[in-house]
């Protein structure tokens, strides 16, 4: 009989155990999941040996279908078959409907003006639809890898703003998945290429997906991937090429009022024609209209090229701007990497090759390269490769600012600043006894608030009542490694922490997310209680594990008394974590957090000192 392994309390039984983590490319048209297995990174296939999952979700009376099963009904049931949901993420309904494109869905606006799809399964928002796409990918990963995932890395377009990023992260938390990091798609691609070739120097990543375009300029140096500049358009992609062809068909065949179903058929044919034109100079488009008539026409590549040339030129302009922001010239670019299915379009390849003066790199499948890079990063982040040299230094794609008098924007963090970043700004009251202050945070490059994207509005409360101009409120804007913003504030003269209620302009509030979570559970109350307990227990285990590791390494930084006190709180947390009281675990974690604060700060500063050890001040 095998003996049970019993670890010492607080010590992990198997420190070298392989932890399961995957990278997910949550794409506009297709999604993929990748992992590192036996040292090799690759995408994971489903039971039919297919790697990509169409990002399509269909809601019927009885069930929700995702992927090919949903896609098959795209023309038949367009109203309930949602395609390209990524384009709705973090956008208002007004935004979406102001474009030239029309949608077959039954829309409703949420309280904050977010789009809601009315389906036979009830009302769903873009975050929930995205969560449906994540579900089968997670299931596939857990089945393939044979265990529960400890975390995922999800990729987002580099040009995604705060609301779009937050929405993506919310989708994962909705299905109880821990997000290790949101990773920018071009950076993910660079990892996939960079580790292969071990190159050093400047590389440009041109990423044209289904719905988004990104250009990133990176410097690779000794395992460090430093993003120098990024640019793009979060609403430009291969989908737009499809729509141009769709409009062209409609015009050529003189179709005026058409059904939603025919419209979707035209779109599907448009995509097929686009893809066919990659390898041949002409192709025949044909569609059966609502009356059963067959319509057909010949499309040449030249016709298609002239249709999309303006859009392609726009991407080249973005490349030029990104190079300037990065302060490098075209000649400095060692390699231009092509990412995203839309880079298969011959005109795109030609224009990019022309611009950079060299043929772009396409050796890794442009559809899979992002997922593969994310898989590599996930494997490192979860702790499977402690000796890894890889380090990603990414940037914020769009400037952050606050609204000032007259609807003007005062920039707080400018675009292409390396993240994480924290900037403090001081504000003062303009009325005697004023105790509250309203803020409006926006993202964008323009000078007027009206031309930027509204991120959040918040109110500072609890400012001590002082004479006008006497209170100095220091507001700190922090952007973390995921590119997500958080705000804290303090009144300087009194040290009073003011409370902040952030109302995301195009995102979901915590209460909305809570409600969605409850909705997603069958036996709401019981499930949620159980899940919360499980989550706290996992957190407690993580806290204890990392503290144990810290103590075994750095306990010399503590006095004997401090050590005893910490061990006391650890023992009590370990005890509570084995019981059922969620609140008590939470409190014990907080207590341990407080008692170890100095220790944690000392350790961090110690590692900063160690990093530069042996490099004397007079080295220069």
């Amino acid at each position: 009989m095998a003996l049970l392994q019993i670890a010492e309390p607080g010590l992990t039984a198997a420190p070298h155990q392989h932890r399961l983590a995957v990278g997910i490319d949550l794409g506009t048209t297709n999604s993929l999941v990748a992992a590192v297995r036996s040292g090799v990174a690759g995408t994971l296939a489903d039971e039919s040996n297919l790697h990509s999952l169409p990002s399509v979700v269909r809601y019927t009376q009885d069930a929700v279908f995702v992927g090919r099963e949903a896609e098959a009904f795209s023309a038949q049931d367009p109203q309930n078959t949602i395609v390209s949901v990524k384009r709705f993420m973090g956008r208002s309904l007004e935004d979406i409907q102001s474009g030239s494109q029309t949608f077959p869905y039954a829309f409703e606006a949420s309280e904050h003006g977010l789009p809601i799809f009315v389906t036979p399964q009830g009302k769903v928002n873009p975050v929930q639809v995205s969560a449906e796409i994540l579900k089968p990918l997670i299931q596939r990963a857990e089945a393939t890898l044979g265990g529960t995932l400890e975390g995922v890395v999800i990729t987002v377009p580099a040009y995604f703003d705060d609301a779009q990023r937050q929405g993506t992260k919310d989708a994962a938390s909705l299905i109880g998945v821990k997000v290790l990091r949101l990773l920018n798609e071009p950076t993910a691609a660079a990892i996939a290429y960079g580790l292969d070739s071990g190159k050093e120097g400047i590389i440009a990543v041109y990423d044209l997906g289904g719905g988004t375009f990104d250009i990133s300029i990176l410097r690779l140096n000794k395992g460090v991937f430093e993003v120098l500049a990024t640019g793009g358009d979060s609403a430009l992609g291969g989908d737009d090429f499809d729509h141009m062809l769709q409009d062209f068909f409609q015009q050529q065949w003189s179709l005026q009022k058409i059904s939603a179903s025919l419209s979707r058929k035209l779109l599907i044919e448009a995509r097929r024609v686009k893809e066919a034109l990659t390898n041949s100079d002409t192709t025949i488009a044909s569609v059966v209209d609502d009356s059963g008539c067959e319509l057909s026409l010949t499309v040449s590549r030249a016709t298609f090229d002239s249709m999309i040339s303006k859009l392609v030129k726009k991407t080249v302009s973005s490349c030029r701007r990104a190079l300037r922001d990065a302060d490098v010239s075209k000649e400095d670019v060692l390699e231009a990497v092509m990412v995203g299915g839309s880079t298969r379009v011959p005109l795109v390849r030609e224009e990019v090759a022309n611009f950079f003066g060299k043929s772009p790199l396409t050796s890794i499948d442009p559809d899979r390269v992002v997922a593969i890079g994310a898989g590599i990063q996930a494997d490192i982040l979860v702790g499977n490769k402690p000796e890894s040299d890889l380090l990603l230094l990414d940037v914020i794609p769009l400037s952050l600012g606050v609204e000032t008098m007259g609807g003007l924007v005062e920039k707080v963090v400018s675009r292409n600043t390396t993240i994480p970043v924290a900037r403090a700004q001081e504000f003062t009251t303009f009325k005697d006894g004023q105790t509250a202050m309203a803020f409006h945070v926006v993202q964008g490059e323009r000078e007027l608030v009206a031309d930027c994207r509204s991120l959040a509005k918040f109110t500072l409360n609890g400012i001590p009542p002082l004479a006008a101009g006497a209170a100095h409120i220091r507001v700190t804007f922090q952007v973390d490694a995921d590119g997500l913003l958080s705000v804290t504030a303090m009144e300087k003269s009194t040290g009073v922490k003011t409370s902040i209620q952030v109302k995301p302009s195009f995102g979901l509030s915590d209460t909305e997310i809570g409600a969605m979570l409850r909705d997603s559970m069958a036996n709401a109350e019981e499930d949620i209680t159980r899940r919360m307990l499980a989550e706290k227990q996992v957190e407690a285990a993580r806290v204890l594990e990392s503290l144990n590791a810290a103590l075994s390494k750095d306990s010399q930084l503590l006095t004997a008394d401090e050590l005893v006190s910490i061990q006391h709180f650890m023992a009590s947390l370990a005890q509570l974590a084995s019981e059922q009281d969620t609140d008590a675990i939470e409190k014990a974690i907080e207590a341990l957090d407080t008692v170890t604060q100095d220790f944690a700060a000392k350790r961090m500063d110690n590692s900063i000192k160690l990093a530069l050890k042996g490099q004397s001040v007079d080295n220069i």
Binding site: E150, G151, L180, R181, N221, K222, V224, S317, R320, R321, R324, I380, L381, V382, G383, D389, L391, L392, L393, T417, T418, I419, P420, V421, A422, Q478, D480, A481, E539, R542, V543, S546, L547, D593, T596, Q597, A600, A601, M604, D605, S607, I608, L610, A611, L612, Q615, S616, V617, D618, N619, I620
Partner: protein, 174 residues
């Protein structure tokens, strides 16, 4: 916070950018949030804060104008958020000249040559200012610090003009 100390460098206007970049990487490797993806919330929080600080320090030390400002701040003279205006007539005249050339670029037959010319003019003008600044920053006299502040203000103004020039250049290319 003394950014030079953080990077284990002696405070000076001259900084070896290669060494600076190398130390930046070493510091990032020690505290970047990616190293704490699996750690406790507390460590994550600290790592974000420290990394943000290191990023800020790196940006400041990398940029000559900001570096000079930081040196001056370490000597007790804060330049940021001030509204002092320059009282240098010669520089004022030069400013007006630059502005005019900047506005006329669009009408020029050879805008690229105009742009190149302006960049060259900025460089030529900045050289003696930078040289003077270097000497002034070595001094411990308050009067020298005030003079250094004036030189920095000029450089800041020119940096702003250069940004504008870059925007004009950008617009021409589109």
């Amino acid at each position: 916070m003394n950014y030079f100390e953080l990077f284990s460098l002696s405070p000076s206007y001259d900084v070896d950018t290669a060494i600076l970049a190398e130390r930046y990487r070493d510091l990032q490797r020690a505290v970047h949030p990616d190293k704490f993806a699996n750690a406790s919330e507390q460590d994550k929080r600290l790592s974000v804060q420290r990394t943000a600080q290191i990023n800020d320090a790196f940006q400041t030390l990398k940029n000559p104008i900001q570096r000079a400002e930081h040196l001056l701040a370490l000597k007790g003279l804060e330049l940021s958020h001030e509204s002092t205006t320059l009282k240098d007539t010669q520089f004022l005249m030069q400013q007006i000249e630059w502005r005019e050339s900047l506005e006329e670029i669009g009408d020029s037959d050879d805008p690229e040559a105009e742009i190149e010319g302006l960049y060259a003019s900025f460089d030529a003008f900045a050289k003696p200012i930078t040289a003077a600044l270097k000497v002034l920053l070595l001094s411990d006299l308050e009067s020298d610090h005030l003079q250094a502040a004036d030189q920095i203000r000029k450089l800041k103004f020119m940096a702003k003009l250069q940004d504008e020039l870059a925007r004009v250049e950008d617009a021409l290319l589109d």
